[in-house]
């Protein structure tokens, strides 16, 4: 795990701002505010994993009672991540938004989600084993 410094925070916040810029621009340029749903999706995406990892106790390997809850959290996270890509493609296919708006919101959403994930990776406490 690399050490997190001030430069990491600055870079991550810059990427987050670019992601939000792309999503909001994809809404505002064509006056159709459906792509804002992508932001909500990617903000919600790490939540099931986070909640379920607090519900289960990972030390209990032999009994494996908490593994099902962890799997449920992973399943929901996978659902949300694909939802963030599928939703703009769906809207573009039905002509609710243009194709370029869909591309911009997908790229912006992936930047936002990548920022959230790498922030959690850099700044999580060293508690494993």
């Amino acid at each position: 795990m690399p050490t997190a410094g001030l430069k990491t925070i600055i870079a991550l916040s810059f990427v987050l701002a670019v992601g939000f810029l792309l999503v909001i621009l994809s809404c505002a340029l064509w006056h159709s505010y459906y792509p804002l749903l992508v932001v909500a999706t990617y903000v919600l995406a790490p939540l099931p994993n986070w909640i379920c990892s607090h519900c289960a106790n990972p030390d209990d390997f032999v009994e494996s009672s908490g593994a099902a809850v962890l799997d449920l959290g992973r399943f929901c996270t996978g659902f949300f991540v694909v939802m963030g890509i599928a939703l703009p493609v769906l809207l573009a296919h039905s002509n609710a938004i243009t194709i370029s708006a869909a591309v911009m919101s997908v790229i912006g959403g992936l930047l936002i989600y990548g920022t959230i994930i790498s922030f959690a990776m850099f700044f999580q406490e060293e508690q494993e084993f």
């Binding site: 494996s64 799997d71 992973r74 996978g78 659902f79 694909v82 939802m83 493609v89 769906l90 039905s94």
Partner: protein, 171 residues
């Protein structure tokens, strides 16, 4: 252990890692999401101005997906250890038999959803001879049920990896 297996074929060695298991569960969630949004795409496209035909997505088109998802839920509610071991004294006799009945119901719902998808595709789209851009809705109905089945298989296999992992660790 190897005598009590439900499936007799052997899985490759690289699958026996915690990384492959987690990736499998994430992938199953992603595939399920893909199936749901393929079906939602057909419903949204049916209502949009692009659909020039009189064919529309109704509740009948949602039924195969609903049945497949129900089957997936039932299949993954069965604990895998109950299938092979019949000696659990605390929950009555014949536990493995009961678990297999529930599992059969789950697989029946899953296969019923798949067959229902093909049925809707044939009866609603092929037999009346719906032209191509509206035919996409029928293809998507069939495809979503199939992807739910694929997601179930991946989730099942990756949860079986979990058993092997904890088994290796406890020894």
């Amino acid at each position: 252990m190897s005598e009590d297996r439900l499936w007799k074929f052997r899985r490759p060695e690289w699958l026996n890692s915690i990384w492959a298991r987690n990736a499998g569960v994430y992938g199953a969630g992603g595939l399920f999401s893909l199936a749901f949004y393929i079906l939602l795409d057909s419903a949204v496209w049916s209502k949009s101005a692009l659909n020039g035909s009189t064919v529309h997505v109704t509740f009948v088109d949602w039924l195969p997906f609903i049945f497949s998802s129900l089957g997936m839920l039932i299949i993954n509610s069965v604990e895998k250890a109950r299938l092979s071991a019949d000696s659990f004294s605390y929950s009555g006799s014949g536990v493995a038999w009961k678990a297999r009945v529930v599992l059969f119901l789950g697989f029946a719902a899953l296969a019923g959803g798949l067959a229902g998808g093909v049925t809707v595709f044939v009866l609603k789209f092929i037999v009346p001879g719906v032209p191509f851009p509206a035919l996409t809705m029928g293809v998507e109905v069939m495809l979503s049920a199939m992807i739910v089945g694929l997601s179930t298989v991946i989730l099942w296999v990756s949860q079986n990896i979990e058993d092997e992992y904890s088994y290796n660790l406890s020894l």
